[in-house]
C-alpha cells in the first residue's frame, strides 16, 4: 500500500469509532500492542525529547526501504507513534520525504502535532524525515 492508501485506511477506521472515548481506546490499544523495541536501541542517542513524553526511535535501511521501531513512555503518544510508524515504515526515503501526514489532523488529533504541545510526536515526524533525507543522500552517493 502507498503511504496515502495507508492513511486513508486509518481515517476510514476512525470514522467507525463514534465518540472520543472510542477513538482514544483504540489509540491506547495500539500503544499497548506496539511491537516492543529492542532494548539495545532504547538509548539516549535514539531519544526524541519532547517536553512531557519521551519517544525512542530506531531506523533500519535495507533493500531501499526504511523500517522504524519505536517506543514512548506515554501510552497515547505510543499509540500515535504506532500509527505513524505503520504508515511510513517500509517505504523508500523519497516516499517518506514527500509524504504529507494528513491523517493525524483528519482523525482529530492534530493537537499532537502542535509545536506548543511539544510531546515528542512532532519531533518524531521531523526526525523520520531527517533519517529519510540522510539515507537518500547516502544512496545517491553510492
Amino acid at each position: 500500500m502507498t503511504i496515502k492508501e495507508k492513511q486513508d485506511e486509518i481515517i476510514g477506521d476512525f470514522e467507525f469509532l463514534g465518540n472520543w472515548d472510542d477513538k482514544y481506546e483504540y489509540i491506547i490499544q495500539l500503544g499497548k500492542e506496539l511491537a516492543p523495541m529492542d532494548p539495545i536501541y532504547k538509548i539516549d542517542e535514539n531519544l526524541i525529547r519532547g517536553c512531557q513524553s519521551r519517544v525512542w526511535m530506531h531506523p533500519e535501511y535495507k533493500d531501499g526501504v526504511i523500517t522504524f521501531t519505536a517506543d514512548s513512555d506515554a501510552v497515547i503518544t505510543k499509540g500515535l507513534v504506532s500509527l505513524v510508524i505503520s504508515v511510513l515504515s517500509g517505504h523508500t526515503p523519497k516516499e517518506i520525504i514527500d509524504a504529507d501526514l494528513y491523517f493525524i489532523d483528519a482523525i482529530g488529533l492534530s493537537s499532537h502535532l502542535s509545536p506548543t504541545r511539544s510531546n515528542g510526536l512532532l519531533s518524531m515526524v521531523k526526525q523520520i524525515k531527517m533519517y529519510a533525507l540522510a539515507y537518500q543522500a547516502k544512496s545517491l552517493q553510492s
Binding site: 472520543w20 482514544y24 512531557q52 513524553s53 506515554a74 497515547i76
Partner: protein, 411 residues
C-alpha cells in the same frame, strides 16, 4: 459532599468570571490550572478597557490633561500594591513584567554590586526554574556558586543545616513562599530570621502566595519580594518587585532608557529616584491599572474568606483524591496552599492530562518548571490540579470522576 462555604457565595463570585461559563468539548469547563494563571474578573477587564477608552496617554511625561489622569491612575495602582503587601513606601514597588523579570533584575544588579568569586547564593530544592537559572547566570559570571536547601520526601524543606549553610559565604537567600509544584507553604519567617542573624538579605518568590494568603513584607521583614499579576486575577505580562528602600537605593539600575534618568549627558547620567530608577522605558500602564483592580477585587472578597474557602476545598480535594485506588500525592506537606499534585498508578501524567482535557477538565501536567523536584522523586512529572476561590466541590467531583474514567481507558 460538603456544601459550598458560607464565607463566600461562590456561585455569585463565579458570575464575575465570564470565562468560567465556557464549554470545552461539550462539557462545562472545570478550570483547575490556577497556579499557571488565574482567570480575570469582569472588574479587571473593565478597568483596563476603561483606561484605553478614556485616559490612554503616556505617564509622567505629558503636561496635558490625559497624561496627568493616566499618571494618577498608574501611581494609584502602585499605592494599592504597596498597601496590599504592607510595604512602607509606594516607591518600594517596582513594576516589572512578572516574577521572572523581578528575580532576574535582583540577580543581575545584586551580583554586579555584591557577588564575588567564592561567594554563593542559597536557594531551595523546590524552586521554580525562574528562581534557579537567574542565580546560575549571575553566579557563573562572578565565579560564585548556587547552594541548595534540601527537601525531604514529604516535600518540606530540611532546615536543620541552615545555619551551617548560611555561614559558608552566602550573600543572598532566594526561596519560594509556596511551591508551585507541591503546594508546600515554606517556613519563610524562620528562614528570613536565620538569614538576618548572619546579615544576609532574603528574596521571596511569592508568585504562589499572594493570591492565597495575607503577605506583609514589613512583618516578614523580607528584603525583596516578587510576584506576578496574572496569578492574582490581574493581566499577564505584568508583575512586581518589592525591595526595601535601603536596598533599592544601594543597588545599581537594571536597564537604561527613558524615565529612569534625571539628567543625561555623554559624560555622566544621573539616575532618577525610586522607583523610576528601575523602570526604564514606557511601562505597561494598563497592566498596572489592571493589577490594581485585581487587588481591589481580592480585598473586597477578603483574603481571610478566600483562604478559608480554598482551605475547605483543599481538604475536600485531598480526601476525594486519596479515595482513588493507586493514586499517590506528590508532596505531603500538612501546610499547603493551592496545589494538589499527584500520580495514578503507572499512568503517565501526560496521558492523564489528555483524557481529563477531553472531559473539559483543565489541569497542568509535566514537571511544572521544577525539574529538580521531579528528579528527587524520580518521576517524569505530575498531574497538578490547582485551586482558586471560584472552584467548587462539584468541580472536584468532576475531577475525581474524570480520573476514574481515565484509569478505565488507560488501565
Amino acid at each position: 459532599m460538603i456544601k459550598d462555604s458560607n464565607v463566600l457565595d461562590v456561585e455569585k463570585v463565579r458570575k464575575d468570571f465570564p470565562i468560567l461559563d465556557t464549554l470545552v468539548f461539550g462539557h462545562p469547563l472545570v478550570y483547575l490550572d490556577n497556579a499557571a494563571t488565574t482567570q480575570k474578573p469582569e472588574a479587571v477587564l473593565n478597568a483596563m478597557n476603561e483606561y484605553y477608552h478614556t485616559i490612554n496617554s503616556n505617564v509622567h511625561r505629558g503636561v496635558h490633561h490625559l497624561s496627568q489622569l493616566a499618571t494618577d491612575a498608574y501611581e494609584l495602582a502602585r499605592k494599592k500594591i504597596a498597601e496590599y503587601i504592607g510595604a512602607k513606601h509606594a516607591h518600594e514597588i517596582i513594576y516589572t513584567r512578572g516574577t521572572t523579570e523581578s528575580i532576574n533584575m535582583v540577580a543581575a544588579v545584586f551580583a554586579k554590586r555584591y557577588l564575588k568569586a567564592g561567594d554563593s547564593v542559597l536557594v531551595s530544592g523546590m524552586e521554580h526554574h525562574s528562581n534557579i537559572v537567574p542565580w546560575q547566570l549571575a553566579c557563573e559570571e562572578r565565579g560564585a556558586t548556587v547552594k541548595v536547601i534540601p527537601i525531604d520526601g514529604n516535600g518540606e524543606l530540611v532546615l536543620d543545616g541552615l545555619d551551617k549553610l548560611l555561614s559558608e559565604g552566602v550573600k543572598l537567600v532566594s526561596v519560594n513562599y509556596v511551591s508551585n509544584a507541591l503546594g508546600t507553604i515554606n517556613p519563610v519567617r524562620d528562614i528570613i530570621q536565620a538569614a538576618h542573624r548572619h546579615g544576609i538579605p532574603v528574596l521571596l518568590d511569592a508568585a504562589q502566595a499572594v493570591q492565597h494568603m495575607e503577605v506583609d513584607v514589613q512583618e516578614l521583614d523580607v528584603d525583596f519580594l516578587a510576584f506576578s499579576s496574572h496569578k492574582i486575577y490581574g493581566p499577564t505580562g505584568f508583575g512586581v518587585l518589592y525591595g526595601k528602600e535601603k536596598w533599592l537605593n544601594e543597588l545599581p539600575p537594571y536597564q537604561g532608557g527613558g524615565e529612569m534618568i534625571k539628567t543625561v549627558s555623554f559624560e555622566k547620567t544621573t539616575y532618577n529616584d525610586l522607583p523610576y530608577k528601575f523602570e526604564a522605558g514606557t511601562p505597561d500602564i494598563a497592566g498596572a491599572i489592571g493589577l490594581g483592580a485585581a487587588l481591589d477585587y481580592v480585598q473586597a472578597l477578603g483574603l481571610p474568606a478566600i483562604r478559608q474557602v480554598e482551605h475547605e476545598l483543599m481538604v475536600y480535594g485531598l480526601e476525594a483524591l486519596q479515595e482513588i485506588e493507586g493514586l499517590r500525592m506528590i508532596g505531603n506537606s500538612a501546610n499547603r496552599a493551592g496545589v494538589l499534585s499527584f500520580l495514578v498508578g503507572d499512568i503517565h501524567p501526560f496521558d492523564m492530562g489528555e483524557i481529563l482535557d477531553k472531559q473539559g477538565i483543565a489541569v497542568r501536567t509535566g514537571h511544572h518548571c521544577a525539574q529538580p523536584i521531579m528528579d528527587l522523586y524520580c518521576i517524569p512529572g505530575t498531574v497538578r490540579a490547582s485551586l482558586a476561590f471560584y472552584n467548587t466541590p462539584a468541580e472536584i467531583d468532576r475531577l475525581t470522576a474524570g480520573i476514574r474514567k481515565a484509569m478505565k481507558l488507560l488501565g
